[in-house]
Amino acid sequence: MSEVLLSVENLEAWYGDAKVLHGLSFQLKQGEVLALIGSNGAGKSTLLKCICGLLQKKTGRVSFKNEVITSFVANDIVAKGIALVPEGRKLFPSLSVEENLILGGNVGRKGPWSLSAIYNLFPILKEKRNAPSTSLSGGQQQMVAIGRGLMSNPDLILLDELSLGLAPIVIKDIYDMLPKIIGNGLTAILVEQDVTRALASSQQFLCIQEGRISLGGAPKAFTKDQISAAYFGM
């Protein structure tokens, strides 16, 4: 049996006075890929923000590698080994491609990922290493964002809406790379609008609806109708 890497218990979170998560609990084992599905505004990105420490207004308990990290701030959590590839990529426009990647490795964790490993994975980035990050195409920017996340050599990577704003062919390319990205036993949480693609890429899934878990487990254990019922709240 593989070990539990991340454990979330009774997590509640607020944006200002609005409660957006209502008591979520789940566990993620070492090496698993978990897909988070749910309609817009269901709370998927909020959950990721809670895990990586960007959202402070929360109660409940988040443990990572048997350490309670609920109250940790984002800059400490990344040093513990959780990286977020944020929705909308959020590259630093003043930094070149290479500088964005180097900054990803700022916390100095040891592991398989280095600048040259990222360039092997995405050769186009090596060509454009000195270009301003925002001069790249959407797909290339997404590669930078993924590479930047990997550079911290995380134990858990949170991938938020990788396909947002990208052309279908580019999305396919990125997902084809996914096994390489999370190949070395890396644990991942994947937020994705495209349910079919999300379920195909994962061993576990959680469907979130209005801040609550409406269904969860192995994708194969449920029929398509059961999952879409959970998704749409029927």
Binding site: L54, A74, N75, F92, P93, I102, L103, V107
Partner: protein, 288 residues
């Protein structure tokens, strides 16, 4: 030839104004903070150098070895303990807190050092000069001051674009939340930026004190000169700031030549003129 001389001396003084401005420019670039007490810190650094010179008998230019690290440590602490608490969407708190600091500094210096004006004596370098053209002599001190200004701006530019700290500055300035995901604590990044700013302030203060008399109430004037250099040169462009300082220095020199009462006024008017015709400054940063 008299005008050539005036312009050259103005350019050299512009180096000092660029030193006043460089710290302001840096802080604004990293955290959008405008420190109203900036000029008072420059004057305080001059007084600190004066104390060091009195205590050790060092040449003021060598007192920088002591004054710069002290100023940097102070800047780090100031940002960490006070200014970081004022940062946010509202511009009032940082503005009013630094305004309060300005009053505290001026009156603190007055209480300790009285209103007497003082000067740092750097010895022969102050009066020595070499002839460049007939009737145009370049003083070693103004030249040194200008070279130091260029070196400081080059150094800041290098640091900004070629070091890990500079990367942290730019990333935090772009998007402090995403920078957190890279393990960059903005409060620490800001504290380092203020430390660096105060290091430059210390250099500016020592050159101010060597060049002319100073007293506790000179700060606001230095803030305004620095600010004008920043705006004339264009926000977010350090080399522009140097040129802004030079333009200010030359304007003042020409104004003073026409009428001694117009020296400072001429600089202000050129600043307002630039604001009227090129509100983004002469060399604004090209947006990426």
């Amino acid at each position: 030839m008299i005008w050539v001389n005036i312009i050259i001396q103005g350019i050299l003084v512009g180096g000092l104004y660029a030193l006043f401005a460089a710290g302001l420019s840096l802080i604004f670039g990293v955290m959008r903070l405008v420190n109203i007490a900036h000029g008072d810190f420059i004057v305080a650094a001059a007084f600190l150098a004066w104390v060091v010179v009195q205590a050790t008998g060092l040449n003021p230019l060598f007192s920088l070895i002591v004054v710069v690290p002290l100023a940097m440590a102070f800047g780090y602490a100031l940002q960490k303990w006070i200014l970081n608490r004022t940062l946010g969407k509202d511009i009032l708190p940082p503005l009013l807190v630094t305004f309060g600091l300005s009053i505290i500094l001026q009156n603190g210096l007055l209480a300790v050092f009285t209103a007497d004006s003082r000067k740092l004596n750097a010895g022969v370098v102050e009066t020595a000069s070499f002839p460049l053209l007939p009737d145009v002599a370049i003083g070693y001190l103004p030249l040194l001051q200008f070279i130091v200004a260029v070196a400081v701006i080059w150094g800041l530019q290098y640091l900004f674009y070629n070091t890990a700290l500079g990367r942290a500055f730019r990333a935090t300035s772009d998007d402090s939340e995403t920078a957190l995901l890279m393990g960059l604590d903005q409060r620490k990044v800001y504290a380092w930026a203020m430390a660096l700013c105060m290091g430059v302030v210390a250099i500016a203060g020592v050159f101010l004190g060597v060049r002319s008399n100073f007293d506790p109430f000179m700060g606001p004037g230095r803030l305004i000169f620095g600010f004008e250099a920043v705006i004339i040169g264009g926000l977010g462009n350090l080399w522009g700031t140097l040129i802004g300082g030079v333009i200010l220095g030359v304007s003042q020199a020409i104004g003073a030549q026409i009428n001694p009462g117009w020296q400072v006024l001429a600089g202000h008017l050129v600043f307002l003129l630039v604001l009227a015709i090129r509100p983004k400054g002469l060399f604004p940063r090209i947006e990426g």
